[in-house]
């Protein structure tokens, strides 16, 4: 917390449903620990994200303040301001976030306060992550907490320590928004206090900080959607339909994806099932009867891979090994052997196809 302001927010950006409990524990425990320091606080769920959908980026905030008035102001916002740290619970979210409450893909660090910290749970290097994270006009920090994304379910608490390690890292990178001692004391009041304290310390100690200067990072292509006034909107809640064969440019869905379908085109029997079952109409027929994939609008649900009758033809592969959303059939068209080499390489790089797709 800087000197000028007595309120700070922790933004936990997470994968809808899979990490809902995780975000809930982190934000609530941060506030409870802050209460031990005579601070006031509350948590704010980004309401437009609710009801959540599997994997769709969502947010929950912890707001911590020195006085009630500062807290009250922030608690009546959809997204509290002065975000001193953004916790990124899955590093594929650094490619951008598009909640269904918003319009267009937003940079992961859009609301980060100057001098704030983006705390990413990842096995990647700062350089690799900055390849995707857009630049800011001010200095900020990239912090990396080594680890894998922790996925649970709506009714499943994946008790792997990610929550407490993240809180420990927050205490470190914010320099005392909430102290490690308070977090340990609060955790000690519940069961498994020693285990939690160890996890908090582990997070505190293992997080690494990397200052990022203004202008460093990926190109920032984010353009806020223009909001028309009431006299400019069409009456009767009418919006123009998306033309047949085209997709909605204001709701692309790809940031929901943690794995993507990859097609072994020379195994395809041209049965059209993927084309038929895709809920987002992402399969594009090619002249020879294959189906290319529109990765801008694919949310990675895996229904195509489940439905494909040919074993190994459509496989779900970890999203982080891919650089772009460009369709891949053109690579196959120009050189089938080179495509197959690329495909096999990506699957290997991802540590094999993801067997747990579609149903959680």
């Amino acid at each position: 917390m800087s000197d000028e302001t007595s309120v700070g927010a922790v933004d936990v950006t997470y994968r809808g449903i899979f990490q809902k409990n995780l975000a809930g524990v982190i934000t609530k425990e941060l506030v409870k620990a802050a209460r031990r320091e005579d601070k006031v606080g509350g948590t704010v769920q980004r309401y437009g994200d609710s009801p959540e959908r599997n994997g769709i980026p969502a947010k929950q905030f912890a707001v911590i303040a020195d006085d009630m008035d500062s807290l009250r102001v922030e608690m009546t916002k959809y997204e509290p301001e002065n975000v001193v740290v953004v916790c990124v619970m899955d590093d594929t979210l650094t490619k951008g976030v598009e909640s269904w409450a918003w319009y267009g893909v937003r940079p992961i660090n859009l609301n980060l306060a100057p001098g704030g910290t983006l705390l990413v749970i990842s096995r990647r290097s700062p350089e690799e992550l900055l390849h995707w994270i857009p630049r800011r006009t001010y200095d900020w920090n990239l912090a990396i907490l080594p680890g894998e994304p922790s996925f649970g379910g709506l009714w499943v608490y994946n008790d792997d320590g990610t929550d407490y390690r993240t809180m420990g890292a927050v205490a470190r990178v914010t320099g005392g928004l909430v102290s490690l001692d308070s977090l340990i004391a609060e955790a000690g009041s519940g069961k498994d206090g020693d285990l939690r304290a160890a996890q908090l310390r582990e997070g505190y100690e293992s997080v690494t900080m990397h200052p990022v200067g203004a202008g460093v990072g990926a190109e920032d292509t984010y353009v806020p959607v223009e909001m028309p006034g009431w006299t400019q909107m069409r009456e009767g809640l009418v919006v123009p339909a998306v033309e047949v064969g085209k997709n909605n440019t204001l709701f692309m869905k790809y940031t929901t994806r943690t794995t993507r379908p990859l097609v072994k085109f020379d195994a395809c029997v041209k049965c059209q099932i993927c084309y038929t079952v895709c809920p987002d109409e992402c399969f594009i027929p090619t002249p020879e009867g294959h189906y290319d994939i529109n990765y801008q609008h694919c949310c990675g649900c895996g229904i195509c891979a489940q439905s494909c009758p040919v074993s190994g033809c459509i496989e779900m592969v970890d999203e982080t090994v891919f650089e772009s959303n460009e369709p891949l059939h053109s690579v196959f068209e120009s050189d089938p052997a080179a495509y197959e080499e690329l495909r096999a390489e990506k699957v290997a790089q991802a540590g094999g196809a993801n067997p747990h797709y579609g149903i959680y």
Partner: protein, 424 residues
Amino acid sequence: MTTTQETAPAPEREEIITGCDAVAQALRLLDVDVLAGYPIRPYDSVMTAVSKMIANGQMDAEFIVAESEHSQFEIGKHASLVGARAFIGSSGVGWMYGMEALVVTASLRLPVVALVGNRALDDPGAFGVEHNDAMMVRDTGWLLYWVESAQEALDTTLIAYRVAEDKRVMLPCALSMDGAFLTHSQHMVRVPGEDTVGEFVPPYDLGDRRFHPDNPVSIAPQFNEDWVMEARRQADAGMRRARAVITEATADFHRIFGRGPADPFVDTYRMEDAEYALIGMGTVGMVGKVAVDRMRAAGKKVGFVRVKWFRPFPQPELRALLRGVKGVGVVDRDYSFGSNSYGGVLYTEIAAALYPEARRPVLVPFIAGLGGREVSVDNLLQMEETVERATADGVADLTCQWIGVRGPDEDPRDEAATAEGGAR
């Protein structure tokens, strides 16, 4: 061999018909495309009347009897959305059951016209009139009108479509009609000739909002906080513009049919030099006029005001009419338990309308005629006396009185309980 018979359009004629029949006649004249229905008394007489006309070849329309009011209203909404002139209706809890569909009809700005045969809300399962059913849409973007006679029912059905379908308005309109006293009593009605209505109500045209394969649009997607307020403001603007459109339509009605109301928004009776006034809606207006005549004969300067358009609410008219009046009694055939002075909805609206006035009359709330109970001339005379007394005594804030209810004004047991200092 068949021959084509050229028949001249039927001229205007007088018929002895009920309020529901009068609405059905208007629907025929308007060439309504889709009618959806689900039977409930007392509105369902209009279903019977329309069915007969379709069966007799006098009317060409799709008449869909749904499995519930909710479906009925959705059918009307969707018919309107694809460009069909649509009609729906219900009574009492039937109207309430379809509330979700009614609300979305307004927010989609679809000019469906509905008949509400006013009926007490269950329980108990009473058939008689209370205005609460129609009142439930008063805040949602529905134009709302209370008729007094079968003639007014027919005429206002024509006006309702003309106003609702006007590009400047595009809001649904509910016509309220007192159950039994108007739905099931026959009046002398001038039914216009077939050639005149087309001139008054142009064909329904939804323009570029029409839902059709040639006009691919999405209707009512999920909106979040970024859009809802703008959509509400649009509906608000439609309602604000409705006043001018109603005035225009009423003037045109006079021009085309050679008759019609003097004022589009309120029906005033002997208000010119009135010192006291009673205000009500619907068929209370009939006895209201008789009561005024009797009081005038006795030398009292009393007038009656019948509120016709409830949405938009006739605020300017009421302010102007009541400016010189000393005391006013408001007759609500509805209830709003726990509201200001425990009065009804009309009372609360009139009190709010008069608030900015520098000199306000003494305003007395009455509740009468609930559940179909008759409101008599004597009831109105009693109300007027109460108003006069309150005015003379300078009691500007009188708690609502129930007129025509059996038993005392106050429950004597309440006083006993207070004296005992505890709940009984």
